[in-house]
């Protein structure tokens, strides 16, 4: 009988416990305005921090600015395309100079003028004297 009473008491207590849980569920723990404001402030700080980090990251990825003097020179010459053209012409001139045939060398050193004078005097053909080197080149093949 005592055991049965204990079981009944336990059952009643269990039901009461469930009722208590339900009351606790219904009791809303409302945050204060200060807490909500603090949480929102933290969120805004995080947004600002991330924006700063993103800006720093983007700045580090951007190509670095060239020296202003060099940039001014390039601009004065007409931009990078013009500078590229000038460089190509310079290299081509150098290559022609280095790899010149002997006739061009003769022309440059003035040895042609002596032979031309001889030919002019011997042949008396002024027109032929104008292009002697190309004629020689053609003969050489």
């Amino acid at each position: 009988m005592t055991h049965r009473d204990d079981k009944m008491t336990d059952g009643l207590l269990d039901q009461s416990l469930e009722a208590l849980f339900a009351e606790a569920r219904d009791e809303a723990v409302m945050p204060s305005t200060a807490l909500l404001a603090a949480v929102m402030a933290d969120a805004e700080t995080q947004i600002a921090t991330r924006a700063r980090q993103d800006a720093t990251c983007r700045a580090s990825l951007r190509p670095k600015q060239r020296h202003p003097m060099l940039a001014a020179m390039v601009a004065a010459l007409g931009g990078w395309r013009a500078v590229a053209g000038l460089a190509t012409a310079a290299v081509t001139g150098l290559a022609i100079g280095l790899g010149a045939p002997s006739t061009v060398t003769n022309l440059a050193t003035g040895s042609y003028s002596e032979s031309a004078t001889v030919e002019m005097t011997s042949a008396g053909d002024a027109l032929d004297a104008l292009v002697p080197s190309f004629y020689d080149l053609a003969l050489e093949g």
Binding site: L13, L20, E23, A24, R25, E27, A28, P31, E44
Partner: protein, 196 residues
């Protein structure tokens, strides 16, 4: 829980968190209004100290803001993640309070002023909270998550990082201990009246 001013009430927690991670302040506001009461309520039940619970709630929400950019939709439930953070933060605080005697069952706190002047319901809930405080940490966390926060056993298992069977065992033992703790006060709390 109905939250006023939550203009984005139809949007999931996941989606709001990802939007916040992309710099949307309106999503942060919606999440603040939606989740802070849950976090605060759970922390208050574990700690029984409003000021400390507010500190924990703010810290947990700050951790949520920090993890937002890495959050992937569908990988985890935001509330589950938050309950886990709050559980850990509260455990740390309770551990500091108790020193080395982590699992020692605390005596029910009885240092509150007489509740005779306040509503009976308030007294009953205070009694429940006092009884909850007598439970070991894990039992209390499982009982609060199951019976007050309304989580399912699998979700509680995820929060507490234990098996579902362990959750069932914890909640069953916790309820038994609560029943015993409240039995002595049943006349004062009007338990017989409820049951009849």
């Amino acid at each position: 829980m109905d939250m006023p001013f939550d203009a984005l009430s139809d949007v999931s927690d996941d989606a709001l968190l990802i939007a916040f991670g992309n710099g949307d302040a309106a999503s942060a506001r919606a999440l603040t209004l939606r989740l802070t009461p849950k976090v605060l309520g759970y922390a208050a039940r574990l700690l029984r100290d409003r000021a400390e619970a507010e500190d924990v709630a703010q810290e947990a929400m700050l951790r949520l803001w920090k993890i937002a950019p890495e959050w992937r939709q569908g990988e985890a439930k935001v509330t589950t993640w938050l309950y886990r953070v709050v559980t850990n933060l509260c455990t740390d605080r309770l551990r500091k309070k108790r020193g080395n005697a982590l699992d020692e069952i605390a005596e029910p706190e009885d240092d509150r002023p007489s509740q005779e002047a306040v509503m009976i319901q308030r007294e009953r809930i205070d009694a429940l909270n006092a009884a909850l405080a007598t439970l070991p940490d894990r039992q209390r966390e499982a009982v609060v998550l199951r019976h007050i926060e309304g989580l399912g056993n699998p979700e509680i298992a995820e929060v507490l990082d234990i098996s579902v069977e362990a959750v069932e065992s914890l909640t069953a033992r916790g309820k038994r201990a609560l029943t015993q703790a409240l039995a002595a006060q049943r006349d004062r709390l009007g338990f017989e009246d409820d049951a009849s």
